[in-house]
């Protein structure tokens, strides 16, 4: 039931799109779909999403493995820092890169920038998975004569593959929906055309038709991921308590690992930091309105916190079901929740505008509806996190708990939930960081007069006032470090 509720909420944008796309009959639909340009756009968007996903998986898994399994000075700080690029809005990253390297444009530029802001989608869940899987399998593999690299490739990768696939899926969908990087770095993708349909033509029909097509592409990708994920048992079933992995001694590789982590961080956080500082020192619009900065920061924290709470609450039943059941209906529900993530924010926002003015009038342009929009947009992040962490604990444990006389609810509270907590927390952080930088839905659905850091940032950059924008971007990244630090360090301490 609650899973169905989540699916219902997640399918609001879909219903809206179908309604809008067919508003003028089927002729315009066929006309748009039949254009050669439409096919080219699909191809370009898929290519872009595939490259970004691949790059994010390499960076995300690599960094997560080093930080989960190797002895490294300052690992706690690294873990937090490497999650932060998620808070950098892609348009800020794109502007930063352009400031330093004005010639940057096209496919590879967009891939670079989007990879650097979205690899945490892969990094966070993989890190959580690595830290909660038993190293015993890897030790067995080593003792049976497989080398470190073969063990990594055959055992470790397999263990984290649900988490990695979930993260990769999020990256792919995010890449399809992103507008900032592709528009500023001039790569002609689907989202860019959907936006220009609204921008220049006030043409909601064409935008909706393209949106429907984007949803179809999403469904193909989601089904592909679920095939790739397979149904292998990832849970540990042995007796005794899972141990913490003995850290790998990097030895001579230590400097290389440090340089690698530092390089990722330098590109993902350093470049924006340098550009922002430069704008701040040079720009004529410098001079910060401190009270508005403070209120925007508080508002941002508040709505993002609510967004993360609601999203995780809705994701729990879907994620748990997806992890435990192989029923067809469950798969459909899970896949429905992914729709929001691949659609441009403007589409999701408009669908909630319609729901708001017609059904939820008292909530329209008030915080609850904005929070609901965040849930629709970012439900997949949380669903993937919940599912990825629940599959790691064995259903046997739940069965034992049932046999010992616990009610299903007690089992969930006493067994399933505690075991999955690290992964769910990672999902919550992921959602919160993404909410903090969300722009299109926030612009249309926030209470009139309320500003978040992202809307202030947008307001300043649209009129070219980069110096005025810089403090908002800086505070956005600083604030993001709070939830990330809280989640990633407290757990480390308790376990260490």
């Amino acid at each position: 039931m609650p899973a169905a509720l989540a699916a219902l909420i997640a399918s609001i944008p879909l219903a809206y799109l179908v309604l809008r796309a067919t508003a003028n009959g089927l002729d315009p639909v066929l006309q748009v779909l039949w254009r050669e340009r439409t096919a080219r756009l699909v191809g370009r968007s898929i290519l872009f999403a595939a490259l970004v996903t691949l790059a994010c998986l390499v960076v995300g898994i690599g960094t997560a493995w080093i930080l989960a399994r190797c002895r490294l000075r300052g690992a706690g700080a690294w873990r937090v820092l490497l999650a932060l690029p998620l808070a950098v809005p892609s348009y800020v990253a794109a502007f930063s890169w352009l400031a330093i390297w004005p010639q940057l444009e096209g496919l590879w530029a967009a891939v670079l920038v989007l990879t650097l802001t979205s690899y945490p989608y892969a990094y966070l869940p993989v890190l959580a998975a690595l830290r909660s899987t038993d190293p015993a399998l890897e030790e067995v593999s080593r003792s049976l004569g497989r080398g470190r690299w073969r063990t990594f490739a055959t055992v470790t990768l397999r263990q984290v593959s649900p988490a990695a696939a979930g993260g990769g899926l999020l990256v792919a969908l995010y890449a399809l929906s992103d507008f900032g990087a592709v528009s500023i770095l001039r790569y002609d993708s689907f989202t860019r055309v959907i936006h220009s349909s609204y921008r220049a033509g006030f043409d909601r029909t064409q935008a909706a038709i393209l949106g429907c097509l984007l949803v179809l592409v999403t469904i193909v990708i989601v089904i592909g991921e679920s095939r790739a994920r397979g149904h292998a048992d990832r849970a540990r079933t042995g007796s005794g308590v899972r141990r913490t992995a003995a850290p790998v001694e990097l030895g001579w590789w230590m400097p290389a690992a440090t340089v690698g982590l530092g390089g990722v961080l330098g590109l993902a956080l350093g470049v924006p930091a340098v550009s922002l500082t430069w704008w701040l020192m040079r720009g004529g619009s410098a001079g910060t309105d401190l009270p508005s900065l403070a209120t925007a920061a508080l508002t941002t924290l508040w709505v993002s916190l609510l967004g993360a709470a609601l999203t995780v609450a809705l994701a729990l039943p879907v994620g748990v079901l997806a992890a435990r059941s192989r029923h067809r209906a469950v798969r459909v529900i899970e896949q429905l929740t992914y729709a929001g993530h691949a659609l441009p924010g403007i589409v999701v926002a408009l669908s909630l505008v319609l729901v708001g003015v017609t059904i939820l009038r008292p909530l329209y342009q008030r915080t609850p509806l904005l929070v609901l929009a965040y849930a629709v947009l970012f439900l997949p992040s949380a669903v993937a996190a919940v599912r990825g962490s629940v599959v790691l604990s064995s259903p046997r444990l739940e069965e034992v708990a049932r046999a010992l006389g616990n009610s299903p609810r007690q089992v969930f509270r006493r067994v399933t939930l505690p075991l999955a907590t690290p992964g769910i927390a990672a999902g919550a952080v992921l959602v919160m960081l993404t909410c903090m930088k969300e722009l299109p839905a926030t612009l249309l659905l926030r209470p009139t007069g309320t500003e978040t850091l992202a809307t202030e940032l947008w307001a300043a950059t649209t009129v070219g006032r980069y110096a005025e924008a810089a403090p908002y971007a800086g505070v956005l990244v600083l604030l993001s470090s709070l939830p990330a630090a809280l989640m990633l360090t407290t757990r480390g301490d308790r376990r260490g």
């Binding site: 039931m1 609650p2 509720l5 004005p102 528009s183 001039r186 860019r192 220009s196 609204y198 921008r199 220049a200 033509g201 006030f202 909601r204 720009g283 004529g284 508080l298 508040w302 609510l306 709470a309 609601l310 995780v312 609450a313 729990l316 039943p317 748990v320 079901l321 059941s325 403007i346 926002a349 408009l350 505008v353 003015v357 017609t358 909530l363 329209y364 342009q365 008030r366 915080t367 609850p368 929070v371 299903p408 609810r409 089992v411 969930f412 509270r413 299109p440 612009l443 249309l444 209470p447 009139t448 007069g449 309320t450 809307t455 307001a459 300043a460 009129v463 070219g464 980069y466 110096a467």
Partner: protein, 356 residues
Amino acid sequence: MRTSRPVLLTALAVVTALGLGACGSGTPPASPTTGSTPGAGSATGAGQAVVLYSGRSKDLIQPVLDAFTTRTGITVQVRYAGTAELAAQLLDEGENSPADAFLSQDAGALGALAAANRLEPLPRELLDRVDARFRAADGSWVGVSGRARVIAYDPRAVPAGRVPTSVFQLTDPAWKGKVAIAPTNASFQSFVTAMRVISGEERTREWLRALAANEPVIYEGNGEILKAVDAGRVPLGLINHYYWFELAAEEGVEVVNAEIGWLAAGDPGALVNVAGIGVLRGADGAEPARRLVDHLLGAEAQRHFAEKTAEYPLIAQVPPSADLPPLAQVSGPRVDLSRLDDLATTQAMLADAGLT
């Protein structure tokens, strides 16, 4: 049933989140939501409020709105977002819209709302303050400030004397690969639409094809074009005039390399477009909204546009900034700006020519 397990927990969390949200929605510093009691006609509007959707950014309009509140006591609750996004939002909201007035960056968005019968005609007294070219023929909206289309050029690559004075010169082979345009941007599409109205469909189609064959450099917006020209990456670019003044204000006049070339009067490229305002049909705050329109067309607000945002004021009493040639001199084609909402055909033409 496995489904039943998390029922309570989820329901609880959802309710809590929504409940918290409902309480919290009052916490951010939203302006007080006073019901707009019809105190129309009274000199002070204290207690009245206008809900304004503004496609014009805060930096460019908030001071003018603050002055309005100080003068009249009417609170303005502003929702800032992109013009097109707000137009789509207003169209989707329909008659349930909480908005009283829509301040748009361009005439096309207002035209689209008027075509959907969402705007209520303004009083003649307000309309008559502005030249007929810069307001809707049916009185549904009125322009508040104007901007001209110009050519930004890199003086290191193009000497001032060689800068084209007509967009028709841009298809000359001499400019192959040297002209930056933003064909997905509303301001470019408005100008092409104007060209269709003035020079005819066929001539426009030919021009677009020739332009496409001349390998223009495509950008997303005016700002990016100006930056590219300023950095010497492209010799020429088509932009709105005030972008140059924004850049000069941000970076300092002395470091800006790019310069502005004005197109000859009457050239379709020299379209003067406006930011304008319309009052929503059936709005609760229609009366205070009209007083806001009155304020925006007053000398004080018009001087602000002339001096602070380097735009063209639209009432006769206020002259433009000294840096700008007079409006009559840059006046492009005479064209009904309301007709510039037919961007669909323009977009199809641009797509045909391979420009978008």
